[in-house]
Symmetry: C2
Subunit: 449 residues, 2 copies
């Protein structure tokens, strides 16, 4: 993509309404524009990031055997009356009357609808387990939306639902999601920590929040450093093997990890040796939850057992805040100059900067490099505009592409380009071919997910 053609309306001024760094950077980098309070339009740069996050989430859901569906945004109130949540859900639910004065709502979540679909489709234990997910826009009418896409009203969420015959099977489904979430966040370049969460009236210990570490996060996090040193992607998981899946869950659930709400300093000090105690800040980006027959009972999701009885299925739900992650990743990965995208979600792999596009040698070298990068399968943003070098560098740092490759008169004479790694700031002069090989080799490692 040529910068001159790319729709990238960056802002010079920091918008006053933006209280947190991800919101400021997303506005300044032209990723999003507010449409109305808590509701955003995604411009091309932001859209590319959103799609990349979505795709990683999707691939890990598919890998664990979860099947994708797509439920609508607008639902009838009837199902929510059956589950009892229509009245229970507060003013955060966007309630709507259609032209026939029927009560509708913009789904804040989808337990009722997916349970209804299941109830009308599955009758026998032989068709279990069923693991279904969708990635769809939700609406929660926050009283005071803020923090940009981190706490918006309209937001993109991956929500999955599991249907099993009994608790044992439901626990295995839960464990699969637990492992898939660890893999998902690791692939996104994030340190994610599963933390025991409240389960409400159902009880049990089958609810975990996934918190990613970010200095600017909303919660204080206390955990065992062992969480941070595990290479989750290092081994292939066989989801068909309950023991293997369970052993990963056991490893992570036995380590200390709590937010300030549940933190007990004495327990922390007793369970975790001094050198392994980690304190930091974090952001919730996922939540998994087992809730038994809470929805299957009232909505009639029952199956025949091998013995010929009929039972309500055991269910769980599993959410990842896809649009929230775009902000969360920036909170976890930025510096004073701007965003630092992890390779897996970068909107382009490389920013190509031509310092002197008006010079015919530089213009030719720039076009050659642009073509060569594309031939190597790399996604390139080529800044070939007639602008000051300083402005180009500043913009590239702001939008945070992992690599910057600079063409200038001196390098063209010497047959070299300058390659900069955004994260470390490290620069080197090398041949175009060597630069491409270096970027490509790095990307091969990244895509092992």
């Amino acid at each position: 993509m040529r910068r001159s053609a790319f729709f990238l309306p960056t802002l010079k001024e920091t918008p006053k309404e933006a209280e947190i760094v991800s919101h400021r950077l997303m506005l300044r980098a032209g990723m999003v524009r507010q449409a109305s309070a808590g509701i955003y339009s995604w411009l091309p740069l932001g859209f590319r990031v959103l799609k990349k996050i979505e795709q990683v989430v999707r691939e890990e859901q598919d890998r664990m055997g979860c099947q994708e569906v797509l439920m609508p945004t607008i639902q009838s109130a009837d199902l929510w009356r059956e589950s009892g949540r229509y009245d229970a859900y507060g003013p955060e639910m966007l309630r709507i009357k259609d032209r026939h004065e029927r009560d509708m709502l913009y789904g804040p979540t989808n337990e009722e609808l997916i349970t209804n679909i299941f109830a009308h489709s599955v009758r026998s234990y032989r068709d279990l387990p069923k693991l279904l997910y969708h990635i769809q826009w939700k609406f929660r009418d926050e009283v005071r939306p803020r923090f940009g896409v981190m706490r918006g009203r309209e937001f993109l969420m991956k929500d999955a639902y599991s249907f099993d015959l009994d608790f044992e099977a439901a626990r295995l489904s839960y464990n699969k999601f637990f492992v898939a979430y660890l893999r998902t966040f690791a692939r996104l370049g994030l340190q994610a920590i599963p933390m025991e969460a409240d389960t409400g009236p159902i009880g049990g210990n089958l609810s975990h929040e996934f918190i990613i570490l970010a200095d600017t996060g909303e919660s204080q996090v206390f955990c065992d450093r062992d969480f941070l040193d595990v290479d989750v992607l290092g081994r292939e998981i066989d989801y068909a093997d309950p023991d293997e899946v369970g052993s990963v869950v056991d490893y992570f659930t036995k380590l200390y990890a709590r937010t300030d709400e549940k933190h007990e300093q004495a327990v922390f000090e007793k369970e975790v040796p001094d050198v392994r105690r980690y304190e930091g800040r974090g952001i919730e980006v996922g939540h998994i939850f087992y809730f038994g027959s809470k929805y299957s009972e009232p909505l009639g999701a029952r199956v025949a057992t091998p013995e010929g009885d009929e039972v309500a299925v055991h269910m769980g739900s599993y959410g990842i805040g896809v649009s929230r992650l775009a902000g969360g990743i920036i909170e976890a990965s930025h510096d004073d100059a701007g965003i630092i995208w992890p390779d897996a979600v970068a909107p382009f792999d490389v920013g190509l900067i031509n310092l002197k596009p008006g010079d015919s040698d530089c213009a030719r070298a720039g076009e050659d490099a642009y073509a060569a990068l594309a031939r190597s399968g790399l996604d390139v943003l080529y800044d070939e505009r007639d602008e000051r070098a300083g402005a180009k560098f500043a913009e590239m740092d702001l939008i945070g592409l992992p690599w910057q490759l600079t063409i200038g008169p001196r390098g063209v004479k010497a047959g070299s380009v300058e390659l900069k790694r955004r994260a470390s700031g490290e620069k080197e002069e090398l041949s175009l071919e060597a630069a491409i090989n270096k970027i490509a080799a790095n990307n091969t490692t990244v895509s092992r997910g």
Copy 2:
């Protein structure tokens, strides 16, 4: 994907409420389920088709130089008051009040919002043209929704918008979309015919509907057979060359093509020789429209000209009904036994049927074939269930995968499989390797888009 694990709740009975064939087949094949009137959930089989259609549409928009954004579903009423459409739009607009009693609406289209984004981002002719699109759910509160996804209330649409300095430039943008639409529908396996459409008070001849031919279509179509014989995908289009783009548009716009609403038999007979007269039925799946400064004036989308003046930009909008196309394709391509998917949008490339999975030789041959097909990069639905052969064949015909590959005891002994082409019903006995080569060779041709 193994059939035993795949969530495919087919129906034996034809649902009574379904009046047209695509609606009947989508329900019977377990592609969609009605959530409420005119609102559907897409189950895995339908979701796969929807995603494939979306991806073809996206690739052709990208190819012509249109950039993807994503605007929200819920919009503030304020912008629609500025354009004057808030009151003008009838009860089809879903109007909503949020918790603070602010007037919101579920976008039925996005002219206002995209014009607002443009107005706050672009100031100079140097940044033109700008071509932006998004693929997002829309809502139109039809008084009597019917025909399944063909006339639903919540529907997925690709809408694009062009911004240009003057009429000449806007006409070129219009022409690019015209050509991109021809390519899009051709890649989807459809015969699409652009027809002059009403432009309303603005006048001019820059509005075309794209109608696909289907025996069960809503409109009667009269056109020159030359439309049907052109191979639109046969040559690469250089979108940077206005003459090349214009010549394609000229070719198609000079041929006779009208729906019954505008048909004049005398003109038809005068302009089109007898042998080239085509009469059939069709379905509207796209609409392109130039509307000048209708929105840019009231919403302040103005740019500086090279001469230093300031002018309202010339705009156009360009829609494709993505979810509607899923139904439209079925209307155009089915038989008494079920759906016949064009290769480009098929939910799986091949259906693999094991006639006797309980037999150990057949089981082994089935697993081998499943693995070999996957290794060739083909997407396979493997029916390895313990069901009657007749039921398996009937289901495969119903869901309409382009190829059926059958493993049975006789073939296993002879070292052969049976390959059936769904569209023609043609069957042949051949080796597994030859069957895979045949399917792969066909798919290579299809993907030339």
